[in-house]
């Protein structure tokens, strides 16, 4: 099982994503934004960071990178694609996911261990969760406010495509506390918090049990492996 992680100029978390994939039991494959080649991977992760310095809009320039033509094609054919933070922003800019992400309503960068509710466990990246599981994974963003038209929000809710929802105080002004969504087919998922930072005891978020013990993020990656094995 080979899962590609694309590095864009300004990506920050691609090594963490590769490590998460390895810990989950798959082989990470480093991919480069400037190539038109997915190197035969079975799934894709668009990592966090500040591609192109967030110039124009967060994720906007990356969304028209050479490799995105192949990403869009693969996503439309059903390949599991996960966009984390800046990767989520790219997926909305590339129209693989609806809505958009704007500057946090309070105007500041925020970093905290965030509690989320997993509301859709039928996606390629959440099938090993149980519905309404509450998980803790790190959140760190300046432009994480999810917005969409009322009609789009109603459609997402009606079709069960809100995958992750913020619990507790809304960290960034996201409408309806939405932290992550999926496409109609359930193979493309984007979320602002960072599951790749919650995969190994000692290096994860704080939990009620112990400091840095959280590994809830690992389940996204094992879910993708499960989804690929089931094909």
């Amino acid at each position: 099982m080979r899962i590609g992680v694309i590095t864009f100029p300004g990506s920050l978390d691609e090594r963490d994503a590769q490590r998460a994939i390895r810990i989950a039991g798959a082989e990470p494959v480093a991919l480069w934004h400037g190539e038109h080649d997915l190197h035969g991977v079975d799934a894709l992760v668009l990592p966090g960071g500040f591609s192109y310095g967030d110039y124009l809009r967060a994720g906007a320039i990356a969304s028209v990178s050479p490799i995105m033509a192949e990403v869009i094609d693969a996503a439309n054919k059903g390949m599991p694609v996960l966009g984390i933070c800046n990767g989520f922003q790219m997926l909305t800019e590339a129209h693989l996911l609806p809505g958009g992400l704007i500057r946090n309503d309070h105007g500041r960068f925020i970093r905290r261990d965030q509690v989320l509710r997993v509301e859709n466990v039928d996606t390629a990246w959440t099938n090993e969760f149980t519905a309404n599981d509450e998980i803790i994974i790190p959140l760190k963003n300046g432009e994480g406010g999810f917005i969409a038209s009322e009609a789009e929000l109603d459609r997402l809710e009606g079709e069960g495509r809100v995958v992750f929802r913020y619990l507790g105080r809304n960290p960034n002004g996201s409408l309806r506390d939405i932290a992550g969504i999926t496409n109609e087919r359930g193979n493309v998922v984007g979320l602002m918090p960072h599951p790749e930072h919650a995969v190994e005891p000692g290096f994860g978020p704080d939990t009620a049990d112990a400091m840095r013990s959280g590994t809830d993020g690992l389940t996204l990656f094992t879910s993708a492996i499960q989804a690929l094995a089931a094909v």
Partner: protein, 84 residues
């Protein structure tokens, strides 16, 4: 070399945290007559030759598809230099 201007603003109904921060600074400076500030973007596109219909079509396309994101922003003006 004609320069084409494209102006993009965050949608009116969306909170503009940058504008809000500037508005707060103005209030602190005693400039309370300014009740709101919103921040947008101005793009200056330069072309070598004359502005043809094809260029105008291209400008409209990239303004809508690349320079702005219609989910969060509006293209409020595209201005061409005065005809020579």
């Amino acid at each position: 070399m004609p320069t084409i201007l494209v102006e993009v603003m965050p949608k009116a109904e969306l909170l503009d945290p940058q504008g809000k921060a500037v508005s707060g600074a103005l209030t602190r400076l005693g400039k309370s007559e300014f009740t709101d500030v919103r921040i947008g973007k101005r793009f200056e596109l330069t072309v070598d030759g004359p502005i043809t219909d094809a260029i105008r079509a291209d400008v409209q396309h990239i303004a809508d598809e690349i320079l702005s994101n219609s989910v969060i922003e509006d293209v409020v003006a595209i201005t061409y230099p005065e005809a020579e």
